[in-house]
């Protein structure tokens, strides 16, 4: 019986390890987040940011972002522009109510990080890379987007800007 103690202990450790999942930190999105877009015309913000933020600086391999914003919450600061933006000519908020980003990998890049993943916008899925930093429990990132890549009012390529800069600041707390 004594001879079996060590093999049993070894087996217990191996079996036990199967239930051990290395899980990176889940973060709760704070209320003071901002999702801004800017161009010569238009500029504005989105609200309704929600999803899961799973990030650990020491375990980037298992970190993951799966977030979305509500298209209907667009605010350009002008009521008429908001109505136009939500219409089927532009973002078509009824048909495509969410803009989603799901990361496939997060890697270190320079002094920050970059998240590579799929942006689902206006019914078009396109892989993008978002460089970002994480300091003082706040994610900050920015990237550029071309609306024509997402089939947004392709009939009028010269109506307003085609390239928009998106700036995202998301304060988080441990959940």
């Amino acid at each position: 019986m004594k001879r079996l103690i060590y093999p049993l202990a070894a087996a217990a450790i191996i079996v036990g390890s199967a239930f051990t999942v290395i899980k990176s930190q889940d973060w709760k999105i704070g209320d003071d987040y901002s999702v801004k877009f800017s161009s010569d015309d238009p500029s504005g913000v989105f609200k309704g940011l929600q999803g899961t933020v799973n990030f650990d600086e020491k375990d980037l391999a298992s970190s993951k972002f799966d977030v979305s914003v509500d298209v209907a919450t667009i605010n350009t600061g002008n009521g008429m522009k908001n109505t136009h933006a939500k219409s089927d000519k532009w973002l078509d908020a009824d048909k495509y109510p969410l803009i989603k980003f799901t990361s496939s990998s997060i890697t270190a890049a320079g002094s920050g990080y970059q998240a590579k993943g799929m942006l689902d916008f206006h019914g078009v899925q396109k892989e993008i890379t978002i460089p970002f930093t994480f300091q003082n429990n706040t994610f900050s990132g920015s990237f550029e987007i071309n609306r024509l890549d997402y089939n947004i009012n392709t009939a009028e390529p010269n109506h307003g800007a085609t390239t928009l800069k998106v700036e995202i600041t998301v304060p988080v707390s441990k959940s």
């Binding site: 009521g79 008429m80 522009k81």
Partner: protein
């Protein structure tokens, strides 16, 4: 003559300001939107007074140049300019932290007619 016209402008400005402040409160309670960052008592008072003082200067100049036809020209001009000025709130871009910008014209467009309305209301009193 300018003194009398100036006081008419001042009185009309105050009346328009009071009307604007009351309308602002009614709008706030009716729709629950808060534009007080842009539309508040000091701003409404200053803008209505400024509009009516400018109108008074305009009336004085028109009266000098056109004599007996001044009232017709001034009334038409004041009404047309009031109407044309609604393009300002309709096309304004508000700060992004203000919610429901589509309700902003509903608050401010009627206010653009208050200076003219106040002027025309008080005009008979200053004609005597």
């Amino acid at each position: 003559m300018f003194k009398k016209i100036f006081f008419q402008g001042l009185a009309a400005g105050l009346l328009a300001a009071i009307a604007s402040i009351i309308y602002n409160r009614i709008y706030f309670f009716a729709f629950g939107v808060n534009f007080s960052k842009l539309v508040n008592i000091p701003v409404l008072t200053a803008l209505n007074l400024a509009a009516c003082i400018v109108a008074a200067i305009g009336y004085w100049l028109i009266k000098k140049w056109f004599g007996p036809k001044a009232d017709i020209i001034f009334n038409f001009s004041f009404s047309i300019l009031s109407f044309a000025s609604i393009i300002i709130p309709v096309s304004a871009t508000l700060p992004f932290d203000l919610k429901n910008p589509e309700l902003f014209p509903g608050l401010t467009v009627p206010m653009h007619f208050f200076p003219a309305l106040a002027w025309f209301t008080l005009n008979p009193l200053f004609k005597k």
